[in-house]
């Protein structure tokens, strides 16, 4: 995979920023006007404000595939993946960055995609669970999760696996205790923790490229 993705960044970067500032000052002004005015205006004006917030062009490379998109600035990377790109492997477990179910790789780093607006990733390369295997050949971490039964219901699993791959790459899989510490952002309510740690240790000790 190309280390340096082709920059499909839109030319109107500054234009977007200006628009945003303009809208921000409009919202600030609204917040400063006396309450009765706001309440009188509430029913219509805020809708117009909302409508006036344009969608923003966004270029992403997800699992090696390029996307040219137009998204609302408030759309999170997680919702973009699930609701717009239909990549449902990335899970929503809390929407507050507390559970790790939404972990993906952004430019090779593990990121809670629910805590990140999609528009913050213009021109960046995202890898989700759907992009981890090499065609039909599972990634060693996926193989290890199956072998060690590193899951039960499977819902936190994509996040655990994405995090586990990053954990090994970061050099934080030196011991069971180190793995437990560096995997603690990924909650498994079924409690398959022992098996997940065993899977990660297996991959780490197997010395395969992750």
């Amino acid at each position: 995979m190309a280390a340096n993705p082709e920059p499909d960044v839109p030319a109107n970067h500054n234009e977007n920023r200006r628009t945003f500032l303009k809208q921000s000052s409009l919202l600030t002004a609204l917040a400063l006007v006396p309450a009765p005015v706001v309440s009188a205006a509430e029913a219509k004006l805020d809708e117009r404000v909302a409508e006036s917030i344009e969608k923003v062009p966004l270029s992403l490379k997800v699992n090696g595939k390029k996307y040219k998109l137009s998204v609302e600035p408030r759309t999170t990377l997680l919702d973009l993946l699930r609701e717009n790109l239909h990549l449902n492997g990335t899970k929503k477990g809390c929407d507050y960055g507390q559970c790790g179910a939404c972990t993906v790789h952004v430019e090779g780093q593990r990121v809670n995609s629910c805590l990140s607006f999609a528009v913050m990733h213009d021109g960046q390369e995202i890898t989700t669970i759907e992009g981890l295997a090499d065609g039909d050949k599972l990634h060693p971490m996926q193989e290890a999760f199956v072998k060690h039964d590193g899951f039960q219901c499977g819902y936190c699993t994509p996040g655990q696996i994405m995090s586990a791959v990053a954990c090994v790459r970061e050099g934080h899989a030196g011991s069971a205790d180190e793995i437990r510490e560096y995997m603690s952002g990924n909650i498994c309510r079924c409690g398959a923790y022992s098996n997940i740690v065993a899977a990660i240790q297996d991959v780490k000790q197997g010395g395969q490229k992750v």
Binding site: Y96, F145, D149, C153, G191, N195
Partner: protein, 745 residues
Amino acid sequence: MKTPEKHIGKPMNRVDGRQKVTGAATYSAEYELPGLVYAVLVGSTIAKGRLTGIDTKAAAGAPGVLAVVTHLNAPQTPGSKPTGKDPSQPQTTGSALRIFTDDQIRFNDQPIAVVVADTLERARYAARLVKGQYAPEKHQTNLEAGKAQAFLPTSAKKNPKSPMNDYQRGQADAYKTGAIKLEQEYVIPTEVHHPMELQAITAHWEAPDRLTLYDKTQGTMATRRDFAKEWGLPEENVKVIATFVGGAFGNALHSWPHESAAIIAAKVANRPVKLMLTREQMFTMVGYRPHTWQKVRMSATADGKITAITHESIGQTSTYEEFTESTLAQTRMMYQSPNLTTRYRLAALNVGSPIWMRGPGEATGAFALESAMDEMAYLLKLDPLEFRLRNYTEQDPETGKPWSSKFLKECYRLGAERVGWNQRQLAPGAVRDGDWLVGYGMGVGTFGAHRGSSKASARLLPNGTVLLQSAVTDIGPGTGTAMTQIAADTLGLAPAKIRFEWGNSDFAQAPTQGGSAIVNTVGPAVQEVCLALKDKLRELAGAGNAAFASAKKEDVIFADDHLTLSGNDTARASYADLVKQAGGTAVTVQSKPNGENGQKYSMYSFSVHFAQVRVHVLTGEVRVSKLVSCADAGTIINEKTAGNQMKGGAVGGIGMALMEHAIIDDRFGRYVTKDLADYHVPVHADAPDIQVAFVNQPDPYVNALGTKGIGEIATIGVAPAIANAVFNATGKRVRELPITPDKLV
């Protein structure tokens, strides 16, 4: 001829493992339907009172909004009309809270509106514009205050045989006259299931009278029944699909308001609707383990024989539903006490209804009973294991019946050995390792080995593979995998040639996944349907070849996609030919429903958990350094998935013991814990490498497979094991969970 390879008992990888590790497993909010739109709920901001008005204008005019539904404009369905029945009907099934039917507020965050829009962001935004106006009334959300009005459940009042009634054997409250006496109160707070998958439903009206639900439920058929009833539809017009369920732990044993809301929203918007709760809403409207107060009074002889136990419990429920659970069941049958009294009561508060949470009431009750056992052993200066052995029951003291099987002593031996119980000091606070105090504790668990009614269907396909179907769900234990192993052994076919499909209410009848009963119940149905399939194949082969017709049943060999006859080299019928003979598409059989058998025995699974904890002397931090869980759960179908389930239950017990606590601010009747930063559940760093041991002895009576069930006993008894270990480490007895550092410093 070689004996076909056996698969039962083997640590086979999960049949759906590949889907789960590649992101291909589809959960209920992940079905792509044409025209799909999004629904977001608006909750009340008071705990009790009346909605005097609801302003939906701004929301209705917001961009992308397709509908805003409240009690003022919701379509009224046959099932949403008040039935006038008492709140114990329906007890814990059905959407007892009829939403959008009246202006009454029964708990804080009760849905008062649902907003439908074309995108999730727009629905979420518009939902914030809906404003309710209220006439609040004085609410009560405090259990301590609610205890004064505690009552016997209506189900018990109506049915003298209900186990919720007061129980008495021997002399009433005989603890008063015992030699060594103990009297203590124990409290568990409200705990929330919090499966990683948020509650989610996709509702699709495929026709005005045909509804398909992709729903997070533990029972496709129960959900179908509930919503068919709510809409006055024949059951066959409602289809419920729950192929993958992202954990539930009891949370999806009930039909909830958000499901009704999504179905109403889909009807009004005339589009398929997806609704996923927020983590905050998971606290308020989809059940929890109820805040429960218990009192145990126990007496024993100086040589360690229990003479009497009185165990009382008051658990919270809602004002519109009476939720009951078997908090006192273990006390009645675990130890040989000649005198025993139990009293179960409820306190109705202005909260959403509770629902069984893993290990349910038994886990709550075991915290009190097993803590009290440890306290009594301490008073007697006896090893807690020895104390339990002196009061071991060889038959059920509640019913007088023999156990169908009980290998709890074997579990004690296995667990004590593995945890290093002989290192335990009788005196608390005696072992110190640097800044850490080290202690050991044990807790026992038991749960009824239930077998319900189930069918299964089997189809032999022309390519020699077998397709089995069942309406059962697989919320994580590996049901599909276990059923495949059972079918493989019964058919003498490789697991790769068997496909078990589940999670669809149109498939063969199966119960709701819960109560550790699925392998006990669906396992035998799968076994029976496979035997029926073999009978059918023998019959077909006999019709085509006289040698098969005259052969003895045991001489027919099923192997390598063919039927052959032992001692007859020429008789041979391929599965493919038999399928052709049967009409071309498949050989299909359906088993008859089977059910509970044997009133002659008391049937239970048993477990014991041994914990070693380290408690920091300065900070009071508790680390579970070792956890050994041993189970007598009958035959183990899959060592790997069963072991995983035991470990998971133990992790749940760590949460119960040390961190889980949903807190309501009683001034507002609203939870202040509203996400996973406020409500802590165990993470990787909280879980040691848990050791599991199974006795793996078949039970002769529960079913032909010999299984007894694992899911609940994996959790029951873990919390007291940890609490008892904390006492052994520190000398401090914590009787109100969770054991947070402030209680130890």
